[in-house]
């Protein structure tokens, strides 16, 4: 059956709605946002306490660096997790993945809609962490100093790059039915360590530094820092690094997803239930 434009629009809309309702458990939007953002907010609190105990308030720039990083992590947590959780829940728990695949909406469109439901959570946690920590810890972020056009671009690029990162994890999850949750979590965990969200790449071992510099996420998080505070504007922002790594990574993510999707179907893994 030919895929019409109408299918795509309706598919995106309905899969966004499904994603939102499943992930929020049909709850009230405000309480859902508060519960979902409790994780990044708690991480920010841990980092603030670690900072206040160890540095006694002497290295505020370090704290600002870390807090901007952790505030952006909500985008990764929500968007990427929503993508591989969609596979796990449809395959293992709801046992509905075959119906999704044979529906007129392409599976990738379904995943796009499902993962888009994570964006409001990411934006909310980003705003809450930065606003509260700026007020309570006096981080020195001023509205007049923010480059809003850079910030807007960073949010748009986050959505695109994290979509492809989500596709990568979804692809791996599709082809590894025996290890469905662990693979996605491990990948996000490794990125948490090496993407420059809370750990400065220069203090990592050399090999990890090189990997970190070639990850679009590292450049993306730095773009947020650049947009939000003059402290991180010593040099002009390097767009080439962001776009080149972003493009390579996106193509790589898409190819892995496509190949894994094909292999999962060919090997009968697409609807293999292994949770026991």
């Amino acid at each position: 059956m030919a895929i019409k434009k109408r299918n795509l629009r309706k598919g995106i809309y309905s899969s966004f709605l499904i994603g939102w309702r499943i992930e929020t458990n049909w709850g009230k939007p405000l309480s859902v946002l508060l519960v979902r953002t409790a994780r990044p907010i708690s991480s920010a609190l841990i980092l603030s306490f670690m900072y206040s105990i160890t540095s006694q308030g002497t290295q505020k720039e370090n704290l600002l660096w870390v807090l901007i990083g952790i505030s952006t992590w909500g985008f990764v947590q929500n968007q990427v997790e929503f993508m591989y959780w969609a596979i796990v829940s449809e395959r293992e728990w709801l046992r509905n993945i075959k119906n999704v695949i044979i529906s007129p909406t392409p599976f990738i469109v379904y995943l796009t809609g499902r993962s888009s439901a994570g964006l409001p959570f990411g934006l909310f946690s980003f705003a809450v962490i930065l606003t509260t920590s700026n007020l309570l810890l006096n981080l020195g972020i001023k509205l007049s100093n923010i480059y809003f056009h850079y910030l807007f671009l960073a949010i748009v690029l986050s959505f695109i790059i994290l979509f492809f990162l989500g596709l990568l994890t979804a692809g791996i999850t599709l082809s590894t039915p025996k290890y469905p949750i662990g693979v996605g979590e491990a990948l996000v965990g490794v990125l948490y360590l090496i993407s420059g969200s809370i750990v400065r790449p220069e203090i990592l071992p050399e090999i990890l530094q090189k990997i970190s510099l070639n990850l679009p996420l590292s450049h993306l998080i730095n773009l947020y820092r650049y947009a939000l505070s003059p402290s991180f504007r010593t040099y002009a922002y390097n767009w080439i690094d962001l776009f080149s790594t972003g493009l390579i990574f996106s193509i790589f993510g898409y190819l892995i997803y496509s190949y894994s999707f094909y292999r999962a179907r060919a090997n009968g893994k697409i609807d293999q239930q292994t949770m026991y």
Binding site: S43, M50, I53, N62, K178, G182, L193
Partner: protein, 263 residues
Amino acid sequence: MRTVYGRAYPRIFGTIRQPSWIFFEILLPVLSIIAFIYVLRGFNAKPEFESFAVIGGSMMAIWFNVVFGMALQLRWEKEGGNLEIYITSPTKLSWILLGMMFGGGLATSLYSISVFTISSYLFGTTFLWSNWYKAVIIFISCVISLYAVGMSLSSLFLRFGRSFEYYLELANEPIHFLSGSYYPIFSVNIIFGLFCSIIPITLGIDGLRQVLVLSEYPTFIDWKLETLIMIIYAFLALRFAKFTLAWMEESAREKGTLTLKWQ
């Protein structure tokens, strides 16, 4: 005893059949510890803070198993269709949960020790090993009290179903924060520390740091008292678990929701 053994068996030997689970159970906490140790280095923290992070991060593996492998278990058994088999078998749910507690406690303790060993090796962290027997006493009390809390929670998760499961988000990073897994909890504020001590893992982590960390450790409650509190906790939680299980079973039988799925 046969029930306890029968339910503990898959918790201990089941993982051998799926070695990838062992890998991920160990890898994820280790990654978290590595990340926070590098953050501490970024803050130019003293080396002893790294040993705080190793102890705290290793203990969190137990917490996650308590929440996801104990508290949620009856609900998963219901969804999987095992709960009715449990109830119709000639045994009690509390013995089944006790089996899960022994099996899960033993398996997770091994994960936790593995996380501790790997993290200590990676960062060359040293500890006061002459106090090993004190550490064992604290560790066992903490594991028992946590699993007893897990037993109490399991009937609540079963009773309230999906709506309660939704709040599991709060069992992750918020507990990392409230348990002081990466910082000394009483360094922040004594009242805050006392409030957080409601969660037994906070006491366990604090007690272990008191006896294992080489340098001076800022605390408010002595490890002996903490151990005693955790034992009392375990006793109370087991009593409460027995009561909540009976209440849940009765109310679910009356409402016909005991085996009703997707709720």
